[in-house]
């Protein structure tokens, strides 16, 4: 095992085991995240059930163009992330680097597009408050969920972009070899963020347009 020593950390006996552990730990964390967003989705579901008409009316105001574009962007980023993992497993350092870079760039693109969307939402005055343009009052509930859900998602995505950028830079500088055990764990997190968005898309954009 001495050949793998620079990557092997206490308390692991072998690199394979360490790699499985990183992914296993990430899966456990994902279970936690599912419950985190589960609380939010539950609250949304309850209110949508209580006041379906208001939710439909409110959801018609979301910018489906931005939402659809962002879905495409994020799904593509998951593709490049998955390719990065595959490339790292094959020991293709440059390929891994390119895929990680593209992933981070697409993540950033998502945030920029989201920024334009937020700008447009705010111009329409869709921030809950006394001057809210929509009626009945429960439309504000929908928009509260919109801001909170997309906000938390954006925070998760920002964390993801940060991590991907860090490992990409480390890989480029050579401080992190391509055999490192963490790529799959990072990818799992990235796909989690992506999957959350796949739930948000129908909840926030498609609900009023059926």
């Amino acid at each position: 095992m001495s050949d793998a020593s620079p990557l092997l950390r206490e308390p692991w006996p072998s690199l394979e085991r360490q790699k499985v552990a990183v992914s296993f730990g990430m899966w456990v964390f994902i279970a936690s995240e599912v419950l985190f967003f589960g609380g939010l989705f539950l609250a949304y579901t309850v209110y949508r059930h209580l006041d379906a008409e208001a939710f439909k009316a409110a959801a018609r105001e979301t910018e489906v163009f931005y939402g659809a574009t962002n879905t495409a962007v994020l799904l593509t980023s998951s593709l490049t992330m998955a390719m990065a993992v595959k490339a790292s497993e094959e020991g293709l350092r440059r390929m891994t680097l390119w895929c990680l870079g593209t992933t981070a760039a697409l993540g950033l693109a998502f945030l920029v597009i989201k920024g334009f969307e937020y700008h447009s939402d705010l111009e329409k005055g869709l921030w809950p408050g006394p001057d809210f343009p929509l009626h009945p009052a429960a439309t504000q509930l929908f928009w509260a969920f919109y801001w909170i859900a997309t906000g938390i998602h954006a925070v998760h995505l920002t964390v993801g972009i940060g991590i991907v950028t860090v490992i990409a830079v480390q890989l480029k500088r050579g401080t992190l070899p391509v055999e490192a055990t963490r790529f799959e764990g990072v990818a799992l997190y990235w796909h989690l963020v992506d999957t959350i968005w796949i739930f948000l898309l129908p909840m926030l954009y498609l609900v009023g347009r059926a």
Partner: protein, 558 residues
Amino acid sequence: MSDAALIYVRHRDKEESYLQHGHTLWSWLATTDHKRIGILYALSITFFFFIGGMAAGIVRIELMFPHGEFLSDDAYNRMFTLHGIIMVWFFLVPSIPTTLGNFMMPMMIGARDVAFPRLNLMSWYIFVIGACFAIFSIVAGGVDTGWTFYTPLSTMFSNGAVISAAAGVFIVGFSSIATGVNFITTVHMLRAPGMAWFRLPLFVWAIYATSLVMVLATPVLAMSLLLVMAERWLGMPIFNPANGGDPILFQHLFWFYSHPAVYIMVLPAMGVVSEVFACFARRRVFGYAMMVYAMMAIAVIGFFVWGHHMFVAGESQYANLIFSFLSFIVAVPSAIKVFNWTATLYRGQITFEAPLIYALGFLGLFTTGGLTGLFLASVPIDVHVTDTYFVVAHFHYIMVGGSVSAFFAGLHFWWPKITGRLYSEAWARFAAIVMFLGFNTTFMPQFIMGYGGMPRRYHVYPPEFQVWHVMSSVGGIVLFVAYTLPLIYLTWSLFYGKKAGANPWGATGLEWQTASPPPKDNFEALPRVKAAPYAYHPDREAPDPDKREPETMQGEMP
């Protein structure tokens, strides 16, 4: 070989303990050693235990008089809220898992460390950051919502530092989740060769079950507090009835965490006393497999009983019926455990060392708390005693009488291992007995006045309850003494205590098969596990009264 290398080799021969491995403050603050992190946690939660305790002391002094002598209504609200928030999230939830769990669990499974040592350190720093928010909210004037942050009080009407307090709890939650992820991965992936799942000591099972609850329940609390903060801070009307929001929804989300949180507090306690009973009765734990199933059942069913906190909050009668039924069901595995502990003691060769006295205290107090919990699980009685001191007494019996007693049992049991020193047995036994008496003097009167109708969270009350309140406050003083005593004699033992050998109690676990205090890497070479835990006596034979040595130690040292 050069001289320097020789010195190095000789130095390595006498393996230095984890305490000698670096003496600077930085060597502690940047450590990734699970043992040192356990101690960092222990110091932090002791600090919060005394802050929360002082708040409780002020509450008890105030309640000695029926007309609110010292505090304004608002100050009183802030004081019991402070007590609740600090004690639940900054002491009880992290108490056993992050200290004894962190220190002992990797050693008990024969690992060199937890799965992610740096994440472990990070979780302590997250705890500290959350703690800073909590302390800020105290300095900024406190919070008056109660520890439950019920809306719309917390979102619309409270004028306290709700956001910083909620943010503190939110952040500390992530420290719990990180610890939980770490422990689950550790138990799954770092067991020593031969350490099959059903050879795990029950304390490890308890920490494992607790970690599952931490990982799956805490995020829901995080979300509900986030929604409260979003409403209060950003004006998102999530729970505002004027916009169609529903305050009961907050209660559902909150209790979906906060009922399992009770099991986060009590499952590790169950693990501790299982070790202690077996060791001081020199008996195999009765019904080991059933103990494991019972703990996992508690962890799972505990997720489906939260509705019993809302019997009078406007929940439907059908929901009440189901939650009541499930609350009775969750008592079954707890009862199994109580019977099994009792059966473990039966025909054991018992010696009354301090850890056992604390554990016996746990047994009595937990059972009392559990049985009164059944009163509260049945809707008609709960309607009668909702929001009275009966409820207060009930959960203090579980959380303080149960968990804190067990925490002290574990602390005394493993103290020789952690520090390498023996404490004064006489003082420890004395403190354990005082704690039991003080606890009952404090909380038994609360059952009585609660059943009589004394509501919780009021400091002005009808004078006929005063006698019970005075009794309770006097008990509080006794309890204060009992909690301070260990601080003194345990600290004393650090300097003057007799050196403990590797295995002062003659226990069977792997953690006793290495030096006290353990070397930095826990074991000089990793052990192989050859036996089930608690092999104090031959299988199918009663323990021999003349023989205190265990029949088989769990590990085989290479």
